[in-house]
Symmetry: C2
Subunit: 575 residues, 2 copies
């Protein structure tokens, strides 16, 4: 019968690579069926129970304790295995050729003064402490460690914003700075695409696909998977976006994230819109409603994000900012949208697109039932009415043929002091009114005049659907409408987005601007040198990439005892 | 003070163009402030009340009644206006140069025997009746009328499916057959794109954009906006898709719809997948999760649908069907997916994509809270576990560095008789395991063998993330994994879709196939000739397009009396 035996070493600290090697070595000893070497957390004890490696001693262990447990064929094999632990631990060897190993960050910084980057992969509960030290030394931080609290993340990122430093993480798996990979990173060609990712393997997947497509990257900046959650509010993401916007070598910026908090995603998108470069966005689970909006390109997935980025890098479009918005002209209190449509599909697409800009759009034919307009004859807040719906057309001509009803409604909406934008569709072609603009243009003029006399400004926007070969001739229609003061396009999407931008601005509560010291671009440009604290393999990887690195022979302060550590911290503060 | 006076004409039938003209003429008479000429439905009475044109007589009118109401400056002007109604009605003139006007569809069909198309735009409550007559004569139907019941639509489309005829509508605004526009339609260049649309202005918007981009269309087939709702189940849409698939001139097929019922949308997409041509899909409010899937291209909006279609028409890719699925190999009861990830973002994207294929995916780090896996150590149904999550990594190496935990879990899942597909990610590069495939490939082989010995088949699929320049070398890793029997790709999306297709097939209840007589392609190819019933302007439009048309001098049978009509119908049935 199998025997389970364990040894608990209180207050011992080894990095997880060492634990893994020990576990493997024990598992290969004669007579050993299975072995576990872990810290005594609840999660780890559950895992040990699941694979039949739990004993009463293991059950009693604490998170500080190193648990060594074996399941052996007999008592003797178990004892032999546990007896060889110290010898197995001493076999550990290093590939980092470094004569002197400093015991502290400060010591390492003195040895390699040009190192601007500190990689931290110590156990989670010690990580924030080390990261604070690195920031205090003026270094950018790559914080691989997970199991770091949200409060600690906020405190670190506040300090970083003040100092103009990057805190990539916690739980940041990957970064690539000037061609050098930190943490988990692939060998990616240098090229014109800069990536910001709240997504470790997201950054790896997108950059490897970019490489496979023959292009490459400037930098790949990780932020940690929580950066786009509400408490963090994109603190690192926005700083990274800013530095890539200023980097002349970055022609296209690509943003990737694990499912973000919707509000934070929108905040990032608003910032991205201000950049004078194409920005490709793939936030998982945020399905795009449009392919392109100004300089923003929305990808459907990581493959698509990579392909779009490469395509834009090869053939970089001139991204001009969108049309100017007449925001100054509106009077206090003007803030609603009224869409008066003759085309049902145009009305549906408008609803769908407006959802990006305002919280709710009422409609007589709503996409979502909860947005049903109570009375088709009376608009509320933002409203879209399809005048071609059944309730309007019993024994009456379709609104594409007869403009009367729409003109009545247009004047009604124009009288509403809360209305800012009215949208119409003008659909020409066979079957439609022989010259709709001849009736609608004067009505638009009247509506605008009515608002003007009341001290307001009314923006009337029109999607004009038709061709140059239609009997009414598209250009002729558009010209009449423009002469009446309407803002006209033949793209429904373009018109709705223009209206949406106005509405968003009129309805937006002043957003608190995120103030940070900009990152010094030159620290990203010069050859990377780094200090490594934690997993030694990360230092080895930098050596493999011919990058100067100092590995710190780090041990938790006060032997990892929480109480003592906090006393040490307080003493330091007062010193 | 203004005077409101009305005249009610019981059982009078005029088409809505005539009512509109009368209303306009009355409105222009001296002393008349406003006029309304409508049928006495509840909706119309509400509208009249809204614009201050309601009187007690109007209030008492019935849907059969023609209501003529004026608001005049004085009694005399009101009386004069109402007295001139008959004269104004007689002024109606026609632009259709047609010596003899048949009173029935049958008569029209004799006059123009080659007419394969009947346009119907009579009032809704008479429309289905006329459409049935047209189908009985073997004609395709363009049914512009709205206010037709769902039951009537089903009955019409059943008959059409049996006879191999199109019923475009009810409430079909637009169609373009061989360059000729029916109903509301633009003058669009002939070209290689065929469009099917459950969306009137959708069809107009997309085809005008196609025209503006310099391309053109073969046919634009409307289906009526309800065709993709559950009760109708895409009856016309699927027939239209089938005929365009067989049309050699149609190189690209573009599908547009108002917000469809999700199940019906999926049904259409499954059919579209079988076609050997690129198919561009834009169903409003169905946000795409992927840009391309085999021959299917998902657009984000109507502009994008037009642009994608033109692009694909100019440069038509060879669309091959997807990879073959090993469906025959699985044993009874195998139907679940287990994803064992080391990369969080890859796991999230997999969840997101799998939602298209199976109803629910449990996860330890779910996108939606309700999909939270109860115990990270035990999978349920379809499950995705990210082994890099905090609960697995306290004092333990990340699963990209240490494969042990994943291999244990792989064997566990392989033993589950309900598991059909297991997915792994293998992420290489700096920081990762120096040769993950050397450990994972034998484990995959073991897992597959274990299942085989138990009489099952296990599909193991792998996304391999990395580059040819990584220390582990991507190709070398892929080769080892393939040799072990894994299905491998460097695209996460591709792997998930492959797995999803297998799962969908294994979990799908047999779908009832929609059986219909295929539409005779030649009726779409020959020069269009048509019969028009209802709005005379639609016949005029055909004349303008140099298309032979017979306009029927139609009146509702039995003077529009419902009881008499139904007696007539029953007599006809028994004759």
């Amino acid at each position: 019968m199998a025997v389970i035996k364990a040894e608990i070493r209180s207050g011992s600290y080894f990095d997880s690579a060492v634990l893994m090697q020990l576990q493997r070595s024990l598992g290969q000893l004669e007579g050993i069926q299975d072995a576990g070497v872990v810290m005594g957390t609840e999660e780890n004890k559950e895992i040990l129970a699941h694979i039949d490696l739990l004993s009463p001693e293991v059950q009693a262990s604490k998170p500080d304790d190193m648990v060594v447990v074996v399941r052996a064929e007999n008592e003797e094999a178990a004892n032999n295995a546990l007896g060889s632990v110290d010898e197995l631990l001493s076999r550990k060897k290093s590939n980092v050729d470094q004569e002197y190993r400093p015991k502290s960050l400060e010591g390492a910084a003195e040895m390699l003064p040009d190192a601007s980057w500190v990689l931290i992969s110590v156990a989670g509960r010690f990580a924030a402490r080390v990261a604070h030290q690195a920031l205090d030394l003026g270094k950018h931080v790559f914080l691989f460690s997970d199991n770091v609290s949200v409060e600690e993340e906020i405190s670190l990122k506040n300090k970083a914003a003040e100092k103009g430093l990057l805190v990539m993480g916690p739980d940041c798996g990957t970064a690539m700075i000037s061609g050098i990979g930190l943490g988990f990173a692939n060998k990616i060609r240098k090229g014109p695409i800069g990536v910001v990712a709240a997504a470790g393997t997201g950054l790896q997947q997108v950059t490897t696909r970019i490489h496979q497509l023959g292009s490459g990257i400037t930098h790949g900046i990780g932020t940690g998977g929580r950066d786009l959650k509400e408490p963090i509010g994109a603190a690192t993401f926005l700083m990274a976006l800013d530095v890539l916007a200023r980097d002349p070598e970055t022609k296209v910026i690509t943003l990737v994230s694990k499912p973000p908090a919707p509000k934070v995603a929108e905040k990032v998108i608003r910032q991205a819109r201000k950049i004078n470069k194409p920005v490709v966005i793939n936030f998982i689970a945020r399905k795009p409603t449009t392919r392109q909006d100004g300089n923003l390109y929305f990808a459907t997935g990581m493959d698509d994000a990579a392909a779009l980025s490469v395509q834009l890098a090869e053939n970089t479009p001139d991204v001009t900012s969108g049309p100017e918005l007449p925001l100054d002209k509106f009077a206090e209190g003007q803030r609603y949208f009224r869409g008066l449509f003759s085309g049902g599909t145009l009305a549906y697409e408008a609803q769908f697109l407006l959802e990006e800009f305002v919280p709710r759009v009422w409609a007589n034919a709503p996409i979502k039932k909860e947005n049903q307009l109570k009375d088709s004859l009376s608009s509320e807040e933002h409203t879209i009415v399809d005048l071609g719906e059944d309730e309007f057309t019993v024994g009456r001509l379709h609104p594409m043929m007869d403009n009367e009803m729409r003109i009545r409604r247009l004047m009604e909406e124009a009288r509403d002091p809360e209305v800012a934008v009215i949208m119409l569709d003008v659909v020409i072609g066979y079957g439609s009114h022989p010259d709709p603009a001849s009736e609608l243009a004067p009505a638009i003029k009247n509506a605008k005049t009515l608002a003007e006399k009341a001290g307001r400004y009314l923006e009337v926007v029109v999607v004009a659907t038709g061709t140059d070969e239609d009997p009414q001739v598209l250009d002729t229609q558009v010209e009449q409408l423009r002469d009446a003061g309407a803002w006209v396009s033949s793209s429904n999407e373009e018109v709705v987005k223009y209206a949406g931008s106005i509405l968003q601005a009129l309805n937006q509560e002043a957003e608190k601007e995120y103030v940070f010291t900009p990152i010094d671009l030159s620290t990203l440009k010069k050859d990377l040198e780094a200090i490594n604290v934690g997993l030694e393999s990360f230092a080895e990887n930098l050596v493999d990439q011919e990058t100067p690195v100092i590995h710190v022979e780090w041990k938790p302060p006060a032997g990892g005892n929480d109480k003592l550590m906090s006393i040490l911290d307080r003493m330091k503060k007062f010193s």
